[in-house]
């Protein structure tokens, strides 16, 4: 990693100075023991993709669940779409959550529903007409290249397919924020690359701000070094030494945020933990 990496000029302008979509301010949380997260502060700007790195059990998933109010912090404040959610009643959180899309670690598909009903879950609750639901579900499944699974149940899908259906479910309502909880965890390298390609495609086509949790460096670098090429319909590498300017990194160590910056800054970091993680 001795190359000097320059931001790549993309359609979307670099996400700076804009009001953040999510902002953590001095957030701490503990569960019957030492703090899982301590004094964590960062933000996600419009159009920005933030990759949260760290080894397993460091509090990455907890941080993600705090971002849309699935968990409440013990201290600090969390702003989601400009609204303070740390102490917001659960009832008021539902409308905010429906503006976000979340991909869980194992997909978290509803076992008793077909792929169609899983992907259309939000649309069904909003009583959208069946014909429109079918059309939008097919579009979402086409995006993740799983149109043939329309009538299947999650039990008959592989791990990678479940993850892709979960991505389709998160995308269908064109969310204003995407949260990915280890989307490639436990998958083989080929399937992982397919999932990353979908995330790159979403990032470069819709420019939806996102927060992605992973402990796999190769996935993080792949996201940063590639862009989606619409004409070829696939992910292509950026010219050597260039990175996506709106894809930046965060790193956690034992509940504390120890790094917040670009790939260039990450690879040049002198922090011993970051150095060890990168090696």
């Amino acid at each position: 990693m001795d190359v000097n990496i320059e931001p790549h000029g993309q359609d979307a302008p670099p996400a700076v100075e804009a009001a953040p979509v999510v902002a953590f301010r001095n957030v701490s949380i503990a569960f019957d023991g030492p703090p899982v997260l301590e004094d964590v502060s960062f933000s996600v700007a419009p159009g920005e993709t933030r990759i949260l790195l760290g080894p397993a059990g460091v509090g990455k998933s907890v941080l993600l669940k705090l971002a849309n109010g699935l968990l409440r912090p013990d201290q600090g404040s969390i702003l989601l779409f400009g609204e303070e959610i740390a102490h917001m009643p659960e009832e008021q959180l539902y409308p905010l959550r429906s503006r976000t899309g979340m991909v869980f670690q194992e997909g978290a598909l509803f076992d008793s529903l077909t792929v169609r009903d899983n992907v259309a879950f939000q649309l069904i609750q909003e009583r959208v007409p069946d014909s429109e639901i079918d059309r939008r579900v097919r579009d979402a499944l086409r995006f993740v290249e799983l149109e043939e699974t329309f009538d299947l149940y999650p039990a008959s899908l592989s791990g990678g397919m479940r993850r892709r259906v979960a991505i389709a479910r998160a995308f269908i309502q064109t969310p204003e924020l995407l949260l990915y909880d280890s989307p490639t965890g436990g998958l083989d390298p080929v399937t992982s690359t397919t999932i990353i390609e979908l995330i790159v495609k979403e990032r470069d086509v819709s420019h939806t701000p996102s927060l992605l949790v992973t402990h796999r460096l190769q996935d993080a670098f792949l996201l940063c070094n590639h862009r989606f090429e619409p004409e070829q319909g696939r992910m292509v590498p950026l010219p050597k030494g260039e990175t996506d300017p709106n894809t930046t990194f965060l790193m956690l160590e034992e509940g504390r945020l120890i790094f917040d910056g670009s790939l260039n800054e990450l690879v040049k970091s002198k922090n011993p933990f970051v150095r060890e993680f990168l090696q």
Partner: protein
Amino acid sequence: MAIASIEKTAKNMVLTVQDYSLFAWRALTNLYRPPIYWPEFLVQSDIIGFGSLSIVMLSGISTGGVLALQSSATLAAFGATAVTGQFVSIIMIRELGPVLTGIMVAGRNSSSMASELGSMVVTEQIDAMRALGVDPIRKLVTPRIFASIAMLFFLTIVADACSILGGSLVTVFMNHQNGMQYFSMAWEHLRLPDIVQGLVKPLFYGYILSSVGCFCGMRTSGGTQGVGRSTIQAVVTSSVLILFVDFFLTQLLLTLFAGWM
């Protein structure tokens, strides 16, 4: 150390009771605020009502039969075997019908609710539902509670009818007594307060078995082992709570209907 442990346990128990009360209250009051998930209510009514029909009928017939066998032996000592029908019908309709049905349905459905919701919790499906902007209490718990209340009411009527039928079979074919006399005694001595008592109780027991089952399921932690623990907890707690509440409810209803009896 021991005192600290007792204090922690006591605090946890109080906290659990508080959490259960808030959970059960929220689930109950959801019926008065939209959206109401009627399709889920119908599906759960089918699972709880029709699904429990066979065990409720069988337990009703056998309990009625046993009551007739036991009572006729005792009543024969006083030359009063003719009141077997009255004995069976009043005991079953006022007390055993609602309680036995409640416990049978708790064994079947409280456990099923706890394991189903518990599995959803450990596989993050509940979190996924919340992340998709849908309240899992409103979507999953409230329909189960109202379906249980409604279905237990009708299942108790079925259990009462089956137990009187079971008692009649024993009376006629084993004790060789008059069937018409059995039914006429069973019917004639039945008063409105007896029926009201017997039909008010299942409303409470349906609420208890479903709210406890759902509460245990929604609090599941610790993977598949945790699902097993929640299931056991749901059946034991709901059955004990039904018996416990039955005592106070019977006392209350007897006081209320004291002038009518």
